[in-house]
């Protein structure tokens, strides 16, 4: 949750040592680690919203704790999981500071790459516009795929209070 630049130097040195600089694996590990804190925080909020009684009812109905979680809690948390997935995707997709610092060619992500189109012989605006448009597509597709889960959030909370 802290500004990436605060840990940029240690991570840069660590990655160089481990040979993870400019590799896809390195970026996957880094974005996973940074996203976990955000994801746990968000999901905890969503799961806390689900009354304990459901889980307890399932345990009395003959399920173990883990089975109760899978059968009762998880289906009710789909909205939260979908929202969290979109947040995490957008964060990793947009991330700039680490990408600029740790990648140069083989594992470069779009945010540091798109501006470099400008740098070569004046401003190639059509290429930049096309790049940013293409850059938007995956997020758009992902959101459309999950819209059912996200919409269910509106009708969620079917309990009488």
């Amino acid at each position: 949750m802290m500004p990436p630049i605060a840990v940029a130097i240690p991570i840069y040195l660590m990655y160089r040592q481990l040979g993870l600089s400019d590799t896809a694996l390195g970026m996957i590990l880094l974005y996973t680690a940074v996203n976990v804190s955000l994801a746990v925080w968000l999901l905890k909020g969503f799961i806390d919203e689900i009354p304990r009684e459901y889980e307890e009812a399932a345990m009395i109905d003959g399920y173990t704790r883990l089975q109760a979680f899978r059968k009762v809690v998880l289906p009710q948390a789909t909205t939260g999981i979908a929202a969290t997935a979109i947040f995490c995707l957008i964060f990793a997709w947009n991330e700039y500071a680490f990408a600029v610092l740790l990648t140069s060619g083989s594992a470069q992500t779009a945010p540091p790459f798109i501006p470099t189109i400008i740098g070569e012989g004046g401003q190639d605006w059509p290429a930049v516009a096309a790049g940013t448009t293409i850059f938007l597509v995956p997020i758009l597709v992902f959101t459309i795929l999950l819209r059912k889960q996200l919409l269910r959030g509106i009708t969620f909370g079917a309990v009488r209070k």
Binding site: I60, G62, V159, R160
Partner: protein, 336 residues
């Protein structure tokens, strides 16, 4: 069905003692109601039997077997919660089938289907089996919740104020239905409520709980007519029992040491005031089939029931006497 027994159970949550040294046996096929105010330890008692809480001391046995260390799934109990009763992501049918589909049971699909439909008919929800459980009225939801417990044949049914969130008419109907179903199946049932009418109408035996302690256990008749102390006397009766100091109202033979007299409607006799009046009618509430008379006697206020055709009006002087009331000593215990 089985006998369920609690022996010297105590349970604290931090500083507060929820249940104190509770001993209670629910016989096989018996309908026991625990009656008490909020915070008396009723729900905790149910949760201790279900295995959702562990007792600090004491033993829970179901069918003679010690349940210490047994998980809720292994105890063979069914629980009806006060709210959040249905799984919102499932249909009515799936809600009813849920306990039968548990890995602990492994019934065939045909058997599950047969039992779900049977129970759905019993709780009269068979026309809405394919509905999402969220698309039901409050009464239907609670019927499904009761059905989800009935679909199994557990050792004991535990019900935590299952009717309290419903309106009065529906509560009356479901009360009858529940009692009918219980006597048809011969189930052992422990029911928790703060509603004295539910307790009086459904219970084989009532247990009065206060502050985590079981104060009295007996048939509804016994609890009503022979309360052991002031607290129990005050739990039952509508209108509320009148607690008046000894010597205020003539009549009765108070034993020595009597401090307080408990007088319900049937313990108060009203005579037309012919020169010997000792009380005044303060206010009359007409309920239709009967009236509440609010009386004032030497600065004390009493409420009693009266026939609506009794020719009295506010301000009238009347003569009030006692007839076999309940006597309580200075410690609040009943004196006989």
């Amino acid at each position: 069905m089985a006998e369920v027994s609690l022996q010297n159970i105590s349970k604290s949550f931090g500083e507060s003692k929820a249940v104190r040294n509770l001993t209670l046996t629910i016989r096989d096929g018996e309908f026991v109601v625990l009656l008490g105010p909020t915070g008396a330890g009723k729900t905790t008692t149910l949760r201790l039997i279900a295995g959702l809480e562990k007792p600090d001391t004491g033993r829970v046995t179901i069918g003679g077997q010690d349940m210490a260390g047994a998980a809720p799934a292994g105890r063979d109990v069914a629980f009806v919660f006060q709210q959040y009763s249905l799984y919102p992501h499932l249909t009515v049918y799936e809600n009813l089938a849920f306990p039968l589909r548990s890995p602990a049971r492994r019934l065939s699909a045909d058997e599950i289907d047969r039992r779900v439909r049977e129970v759905a008919r019993m709780v009269r929800i068979d026309h809405k089996l394919e509905n999402r459980s969220t698309r039901l009225s409050g009464g239907e939801m609670q019927r499904v919740a009761i059905g989800r417990a009935l679909v199994r044949k557990p050792s004991i049914y535990l019900m935590d104020e299952p009717l309290s969130s419903l309106d009065a008419k529906l509560r009356g109907e479901l009360r009858l239905e529940l009692k009918r179903i219980q006597s048809e199946l011969g189930s052992t049932l422990l029911y928790v409520t703060h509603d004295q009418i539910e307790a009086m109408t459904m219970a084989d035996r009532i247990g009065i709980l206060n502050d985590g302690e079981l104060i009295q256990l007996g048939t509804p008749r016994e609890i009503y007519s022979n309360p052991v102390n002031l607290h129990v006397a005050a739990r039952l009766g509508q209108p509320h029992i009148n607690l008046i100091p000894e010597g205020l109202v003539p009549g009765g033979q108070p034993p020595s040491g009597t401090k307080t007299i408990g007088a319900r409607t049937e313990h108060l006799e009203i005579h037309a005031g012919n020169g010997t009046a000792n009380a005044e009618i303060d206010w009359i509430e007409h309920l239709g089939d009967q009236s509440h008379l609010h009386l004032r006697i030497a600065g004390h206020k009493l409420v009693t029931l009266a026939n609506p055709y009794v020719p009295v009006k506010p301000g009238d002087k009347i003569k009030l006497t006692l007839k076999d009331p309940l006597y309580f000593g200075s410690d609040g215990q009943r004196l006989v």
